[in-house]
């Protein structure tokens, strides 16, 4: 039995359809990340699971029980919000134990659970402080603590790291991942940051316009995307997309060259296709097989690696990622190449051709 199951779930706000029939089963103990651009419905979907938004159509099940009409407080879930949503007038200790106390748990039990959560999150020295006396990272840890004490059936995270600075975000990312391993709990995590999705998820669900574009293990989505949207969304720096033309001999014309793609079925000739190539799949020189010429516009040196911005002879822009430091002359042309097997081919509707 799945921990959480959605069956053709729909949501409309007035005439605007936000979620258009989502089917999804999240297994017990799984770390599932909803990812997608702004307005794709990922937060709405999470809020529907929490019970904070009504379901327009379809059913939501938690551990086999249909919860469409069940109040949020009776769903035995815990939620962590982007703005932390702590009670500002209560101490850390009170913030974490308040919900339990209000639901009639004995004081000693509340204290025990708060102490356990505080220990797990290293919050003991902060227990007597109020949220205004804490840093952003500490506040978010308190919010997570408040979730942990509930011993919920699942944790719901709504972009919990978006308010933190870059360094703290990396640190909290690691902490939440560790926590997941430690608790073995079911977690659903909403983010627009594909790096968070890639690094934390057991499974990524990519949403666009209220439908699931693709779901699967992060590496599967990265290597084997079903469509150009997922291919472009997952991965940083982003995948390069070039216009290509199918030729009668089965090769694809790309800028000044042509190559034989690794496709099991051959699309009709003269068909326009999109060729997707990840920045790290290019090599400098012609060794990889399919040779192109790149004119360099800019090189961003990050120290350990560098991102080359440039153009093909067709004028199409591309990014190339290389190890190490490089200072090639701007405006110069360099030969680059890629292996035909690395090229992903998409049809005119954006769907992957395999």
């Amino acid at each position: 039995m799945s921990a959480i199951e959605l069956k053709t779930v729909r949501k409309s706000f007035g005439v605007v359809d936000v979620i258009n029939g989502v089917d999804l089963a999240i297994e017990s103990g799984e770390f599932c990340v909803f990812v997608g651009p702004s307005g794709c419905g990922k937060s709405t979907l999470l809020r529907m699971i929490a019970g904070l938004e009504d379901v327009t159509g379809g059913d939501v099940f938690i551990e086999g029980r249909r919860v469409n009409a069940i109040e949020p407080g009776d769903r035995e879930l815990a939620m962590v919000f982007q703005s932390y949503a702590l009670y500002p007038h209560m101490t850390v200790e009170r913030n974490m134990g308040f919900g339990l106390a209000m639901n009639g748990m004995a004081k000693a039990d509340v204290e025990k659970r708060v102490a356990e959560a505080a220990a797990a999150l290293q919050l003991q020295p902060l227990l007597k402080r109020k949220p205004s006396q804490l840093s952003g990272g500490q506040r978010q840890r308190v919010a997570i603590g408040r979730a942990i004490v509930r011993h919920p059936k699942a944790f719901l995270f709504d972009e919990p790291l978006s308010n933190l600075d870059a360094e703290l975000r990396v640190q909290m990312r690691v902490e939440i991942t560790k926590l997941h391993r430690q608790l073995g709990a079911t977690m659903i995590y909403v983010t627009h940051d594909q790096v968070e999705a890639m690094t934390m998820a057991d499974r990524i669900v990519v949403l666009r316009r209220g439908v699931i574009e693709q779901q699967g293990r992060p590496i599967d989505l990265y290597r084997d995307p079903d469509n150009a949207f997922v291919a472009g969304f997952i991965g940083s720096p982003k995948m390069n997309f070039f216009k290509g033309t199918m030729r009668p001999d089965g090769t694809i014309g790309l800028a000044e060259t042509a190559f034989a793609p690794a496709l099991s079925s051959r699309p009709g000739s003269d068909q326009q296709v999109t060729v997707g190539l990840r920045p790290e799949h290019f090599e400098i020189g012609a060794e990889a097989g399919v040779a192109l010429t790149m004119e360099i516009d800019l090189i961003e040196n990050l120290g350990g690696n560098s991102i080359w911005h440039g153009r093909l002879s067709s004028g199409e822009k591309l990014l190339v990622e290389r190890r190490g430091y490089h200072d090639q002359g701007l405006g110069s042309s360099v030969p680059i190449s890629f292996r035909p097997d690395d090229a992903l081919i998409f049809g005119h509707d954006g769907r992957r051709l395999r």
Binding site: R47, A50, G51, L52, E71, P72, G73, D74, R75, L77, A78, M79, F81, Q82, S83, A85, L86, Y87, P88, H89, F98, G99, M102, N103, R146, R150, L156
Partner: protein, 275 residues
């Protein structure tokens, strides 16, 4: 060192100081007159320094009106009024801020509309209702309850609740905290500055209310302090010193209350002005 900044500060204070003096002058003369014997008040020229007749004036006042009793009644009525009114207005404000229901906009519009009605337009029909229809003149109920329905307070609280972050209440819902508890334990404490400001305004409103207690009550033992003071004017011999003592005694608690809660008051009034 004289800089442009100190120059600006001096210029500012040169304007502020006379303004402050103009504002303080009536308060000061009220205090001075309260300490003068009656012939001193109407003597040639204006006395600017206090004298020693405060106790005598107070004794006259107490003799004419039983002022201590009137003060106790004022304090009691204003306290009960403030307590009940804060409770009612905050609950109504919470309902209008948080719940979506059919006719909500209309309700808010009507409440807003009543603010524009002058008090004197309302007071006569209100009096007729209480005195004639309910036959409740000269009762505590009549003294306290009719002024309770305070549209300004409702909108004040509604505004304050609207500005609270929605996610805090989402968090409370997910934690299974009921609506009443959310209101009492989360929403009310989060609006403490507004509650303090509103309490002062409501207390002041009741404390200074002259017309309604005058209209609805004619029993001397239920007279509030402003009405007691007003009753002195009609006597054959008007004790102005006594009236001034009464005015000082009426003003003093308000000043203390304001100074004590000034921080909250300013915070409450200016809440939302800056994010």
């Amino acid at each position: 060192m004289f800089t442009a900044r100190t120059g600006r500060a001096l210029a500012l204070h040169a304007v502020l100081l006379p303004l402050a003096l103009i504002w303080l002058f009536p308060l000061w003369t009220m205090f001075v007159f309260a300490t003068l014997p009656d012939d001193g008040i109407f003597g040639a020229g204006i006395e600017l320094l206090p004298s020693t007749a405060f106790a005598d004036n107070f004794a006259n006042l107490q003799h004419d009106t039983d002022f201590i009793r009137a003060m106790s009644i004022s304090i009691g009525v204003a306290s009960v009024y403030t307590l009940i009114s804060v409770a009612l207005t905050s609950m109504a404000g919470w309902a209008l801020a948080r719940y979506r229901f059919v006719g909500r906009t209309a309700v808010i519009g009507i409440i807003f509309g009543t603010i524009t009605l002058p008090y004197f337009v309302v007071v006569i029909p209100q009096f007729i209702m209480v005195a004639r229809d309910f036959n409740m003149a000269n009762s505590w109920f009549a003294l306290i309850v009719p002024p309770l329905f305070n549209s300004l307070g409702v909108l004040f609280m509604r505004q304050s609740f609207t500005m609270l972050p929605e996610e805090v209440f989402d968090a409370a819902r997910v934690e299974g905290i009921g609506e009443w508890r959310t209101f009492f334990h989360i929403a009310l404490p989060m609006t403490r500055p507004t509650l303090a400001a509103l309490s002062i305004i409501l207390f002041l409103h009741s404390w200074n209310n002259y017309l309604w207690p005058l209209l609805v009550n004619s029993r001397p033992e239920m007279m509030t302090a402003p009405v007691a003071l007003g009753s002195l004017i009609g006597l054959t011999k008007v004790s102005w010193g006594g009236i001034m003592v009464g005015a000082v005694v009426l003003t003093a608690p308000m000043l203390v209350l304001f100074v004590a809660l000034q921080r909250h008051f300013i915070a409450g009034i200016s809440a939302g002005a800056v994010k």
